[in-house]
């Protein structure tokens, strides 16, 4: 077939880019080569629009062993242990085929973790759907949740947390972000950089089929009414094979057979072989006849672009091939020596004894296009009026409305489809502030959280970016963990639009500021652009996955009220910011205005003060205050502990709605025993932390004199009913 402009366009390559290809290789590419360029130069693999800004993010602190650029980030958690973690999006495939899209999203991120030698010990996910009443939402929700469960449950890895959100911005473009976390010995981490020439390149895992061809290119384009036709670009997962691959890889990793290893994820064999060789500044030669194929008569083009799942590429030390083969045969997996490393710095593919492709690796990696896209500052929000008469709404009815709204209702229906306790080390399951998993056989644990704030980010991307990082930080603090680092998944619309690019640039700026100030670096992540359908972009949605360390599990904290008669303290100042709050959105139907400001100084100080109280055993329970303000957080603590609270009216100069529903940042609620009150106050005063004592825990009901009186059982009903009703 001769290459014509139409074929070039179909490969997602722009005219200028095609000219660049010709210039780089000094001739026209053949079809196979064009396919390879399309796989490597698309947005998903090349980060051509985002690289410039990603480079500005802080990626180091004294705990970081490996930052961005590898299969996943790695942090040191002492005693020779390290944690490997990363988040990735699988938005486009999940919208086209929710079960397989979500399942392979989990499969892909798990491979990134065990490729580095780590045994996965937890997964989390952040899933965003359109309006609950939108025709597609229910079906997508069912499909995505059972897909995530179907894969993770079979792998035997607990799902420890996540978020499920609804927002009409995702009506035609849902988000499925999956995060995985693994444990590895610090001195047994495996990397993808190839070393040495004439080393065997080995293909292991599943056979290659025709599924997922051009998946990465599909994920680099927007959707339209013909989206359904893209179904064949979605990969089909087999968690059973992945489980075998996991065990086989970890078994082989016991000794020093492996020089480097890379999973075949987006752009399959193409990107894995190119990345390994180009990182090692080598060349690579592959005999396409050696690729294990699932179907007959597959062409090199199909083999190179297939995104069949559960496959890995290894480079082994000389003489180790037979021992390695034994292990993979034991686990019933394919094992094929498909080529070798060379010193040519080229990718050479042979098929039926003929050279079918020969490309300089630099053209595919370092010389790939980079864009400095035009962007527009987001509009400054003018002073706007608050909705009329919000002061006359009843506190009680408002709380009930918020508590039973889709976004704030309990998500047990979702969590209960994910195995949370397999591996026997789960300490906190989904539903608290962070998931907590013990390090097997040790007395320490890690805390994990995943967060996003769509509406804040749309209203003001810089503040929204900051806030999302702070939210993760606060969730880790609330369980008594020292926040260490984050991974982020940046979900945006079409970067060729100046407004979208502006949202991206500003969000990164916000994330950067918060990460820098909190010494909470980004060690891995992924960018997902082109989240739009028929020209409608989603709201900017950065998702942050945070990891913290709990050195002694006895110091772990939970958010359920523990006992009747304890004091309730608010740490941090309440200013009464109601724009973008759940109260305005759910009760007043009002979506305008700026998000609450983030004060990083307070964030850090308040956080460390709370951590100090927890480590001194002075707090009985801790919960951060986020969406829904003080009152929703209190209600959640009551529900979780089945204990009520008697709350005083505020003494400050704010109206009661501002006080109880305001979403000011950097705040926590803590429960303090009577006997500990003095010491707690002493510590807080010494550290100049603003705090208020707002009431006491009591039996059975949450009470604000003359304003609100709701029984715990009613709170639970309100909180659980919406989802139950929606789903049946």
């Amino acid at each position: 077939m001769k290459i014509n402009p139409q074929i070039i366009k179909k490969h997602g390559i722009k005219t200028d880019e095609y000219k660049k290809i010709i210039k780089l290789i000094g001739r026209e590419p053949n079809m196979l080569e064009l396919g390879i360029f399309s796989a490597m130069w698309n947005e998903h693999c090349s980060y051509k629009s985002s690289k410039k800004y990603l480079k500005t993010l802080p990626t180091k602190n004294n705990k970081v062993i490996q930052g961005p650029g590898e299969n996943a980030g790695v942090i040191d958690i002492e005693d020779g242990d390290a944690i490997v973690f990363k988040i990735e999006s699988h938005n486009h495939p999940s919208f086209i085929e929710p079960y397989q899209g979500a399942a392979t999203g989990v499969g892909g991120i798990l491979r990134d973790i065990f490729t580095m030698g780590a045994r996965p010990i937890a997964t989390l996910n952040s899933i965003h759907f359109g309006d609950p009443s939108h025709l597609k939402t229910k079906n997508l929700l069912h499909g995505v949740v059972s897909g995530i469960g179907g894969y993770g449950n079979c792998m035997g890895i607990p799902t420890l947390g996540g978020e499920v959100k609804f927002n009409s911005t995702y009506n035609e473009n849902i988000l499925v972000n999956a995060m995985a976390v693994g444990l590895v010995k610090k001195n047994k981490i495996f990397y993808s950089k190839a070393k040495g020439i004439n080393k065997s390149v080995i293909y292991v895992g599943s056979k290659t089929g025709r599924d997922g061809i051009h998946g990465a290119s599909m994920a680099s384009a927007e959707f339209d009414e013909n989206t359904e036709e893209k179904k064949p670009t979605v990969q089909v997962g087999d968690p059973f094979t992945e489980k075998l691959l996991l065990e086989a890889c970890l078994e082989l990793m016991q000794d020093d057979s492996i020089i480097s290893i890379q999973d075949m994820g987006a752009a399959g064999l193409t990107s894995s072989s190119i990345e390994m060789a180009s990182k090692g500044n080598l060349g690579i030669e592959i005999n396409m006849n050696k690729i294990p194929c699932r179907e007959e008569n597959m062409t090199p083009y199909e083999m190179m672009l297939s995104e069949s799942q559960e496959r890995m590429l290894l480079i082994l030390n000389a003489g180790k091939e037979e021992d390695a083969r034994k292990i993979f045969t034991k686990w019933d997996l394919d094992f094929s020596v498909i080529g070798k490393t060379t010193d040519t710095k080229n990718l050479v593919l042979n098929y039926n004894d003929k050279e079918v492709a020969n490309l300089p690796l630099s053209a595919l990696s370092t010389d790939a296009p980079l864009y400095d896209r035009k962007w527009k500052k987001s509009l400054e929000i003018k002073k706007i009026d608050t909705p009329k008469k919000f002061e006359s709404e009843s506190l009680s009815e408002s709380l009930k409305k918020i508590l039973s709204s889709p976004n704030n209702s309990a998500k047990n229906w979702v969590w209960e489809q994910y195995d949370q306790t397999v591996m026997g080390d789960t300490i906190q399951s989904p539903g608290g502030d962070s998931g907590v998993v013990r390090i097997h056989g040790k007395n320490k644990a890690i805390a994990l959280t995943i967060d996003s704030s769509t509406d804040y980010c749309l209203a003001d991307p810089i503040t929204g970016g900051k806030q999302t990082v702070c939210e993760a930080w606060r969730n880790l603090i609330s369980v008594g963990a020292n926040p260490v680092a984050i991974t982020n998944c940046l979900n945006f619309g079409n970067p060729e639009k100046e407004i979208v690019m502006g949202q991206f640039v500003e969000t990164i700026d916000g994330i950067k500021q918060a990460c820098q100030y909190l010494n909470f670096p980004v060690v891995s992540g992924n960018v997902s652009f082109y989240n739009e359908t028929n020209n409608n972009s989603i709201s900017p949605t950065p998702t942050v996955g945070g990891v913290g360390l709990i050195k002694n599990i006895n110091n772990m904290m939970t958010s359920n009220f523990k006992n009747v008669g304890n004091f309730i303290f608010i740490i941090g100042k309440t200013l009464g910011h109601l724009y973008q709050s759940e109260f305005f959105k759910e009760v007043m139907n009002f979506n305008d205005g700026p998000p609450p400001k983030v004060n990083l100084f307070n964030e850090k100080n308040n956080g460390y003060a709370v951590l100090d109280l927890i480590s001194k055993n002075l707090a009985e329970s801790v919960h951060d205050i986020s969406s829904g303000g003080i009152l929703l957080s209190l209600a959640e603590m009551c529900i979780r502990g089945k204990i009520g609270a008697n709350i005083n009216m505020p003494k400050v100069n704010l109206n009661k709605h501002e006080y109880f529903f305001g979403e000011d940042q950097s705040r926590y609620i803590i429960e303090v025993k009577i006997g500990h009150k003095k010491e707690v106050e002493k510590i807080l005063k010494k550290q100049s932390i603003f705090y208020e004592e707002i009431g006491k825990t009591q039996k059975d009901e949450i009470l604000i004199e003359k304003e609100l009186k709701i029984n715990i059982n009613e709170l639970i009903e309100l909180n659980t009913n919406w989802f139950k009703r929606y789903i049946t």
């Binding site: 449950n153 035997g156 489980k243 026997g424």
Partner: protein, 227 residues
């Protein structure tokens, strides 16, 4: 006491149960599915997971695996067998335990903590539950909906072969507290000789007070103390 945990491709609770056995001083070894004979063992454990991907039907392919003949022989000779979750499904598929495990009533995977009443404490697995017979353990399965004909259910009840039933915190056994639709709220059963136990809940996951609970400990203690 010596035990063997059989590892099938796709087993994923093999390590967890090995950790539990070790914690309660039972000498354990792992046995790969392709072995043709078991090492000398008092107890054989078929662990949870998705043996052979649960393709065809949960536990079905494992019931035809190479090692399983020796497991069946061991059980028929009076040796102890504990099947947890997928292990229970395998025991059913081999015919060592009667009935079937259907898909959960609501056709969804269910993972949560449930309350159980230990209905029979007169067997080697459960005798330590005499003092406290209402316990909390996690379940995590897709096919745990126990079903059999009336005759068989009656027989299980008459011979006191139901080991565990789903209940509430007070031990009330009602439909409301049945997570998966299984008949008579059955969560685990014994064979007639009471040397084989199959159960859907995971005792090996609740053996540590620092984690979610330790109601699983008494099962392993019972086993250790029996020999």
């Amino acid at each position: 006491m010596k035990s063997s945990v059989v590892v099938f491709p796709g087993s994923n609770c093999d390590r967890d149960v090995a950790v539990a056995l070790k914690k309660f001083n039972i000498k354990n070894q792992m046995v790969w599915h392709e072995e043709s004979s078991l090492p000398k063992s008092d107890l054989v454990v078929l662990p949870g997971g998705f043996s052979y991907g649960d393709y065809l039907r949960s536990g079905c392919i494992a019931s035809k695996s190479k090692i399983i003949n020796d497991v069946i022989k061991h059980g028929k000779n009076g040796g102890l067998i504990l099947g947890i979750c997928n292990g229970f499904q395998i025991l059913i598929e081999t015919g060592l335990l009667p009935g079937v495990l259907l898909r959960n009533k609501r056709l969804r995977f269910i993972s949560k903590s449930v309350f159980l009443k230990v209905e029979n404490t007169n067997n080697i697995f459960c005798k330590n539950y005499k003092k406290k017979n209402i316990i909390e353990l996690p379940i995590a399965h897709n096919e745990g909906n126990y079903f059999a004909n009336n005759y068989l259910i009656q027989k299980l009840e008459d011979l006191n072969l139901v080991a565990f039933k789903y209940c509430n915190q007070e031990g009330k056994i009602e439909k409301n507290f049945n997570p998966n639709g299984s008949l008579n709220n059955i969560a685990g059963i014994l064979n007639e000789n009471k040397n084989i136990l199959g159960m859907m809940p995971h005792p090996e996951r609740f053996i540590d007070p620092y984690l979610s609970g330790e109601d699983g400990s008494n099962l392993f203690k019972s086993l250790f103390e029996s020999l």
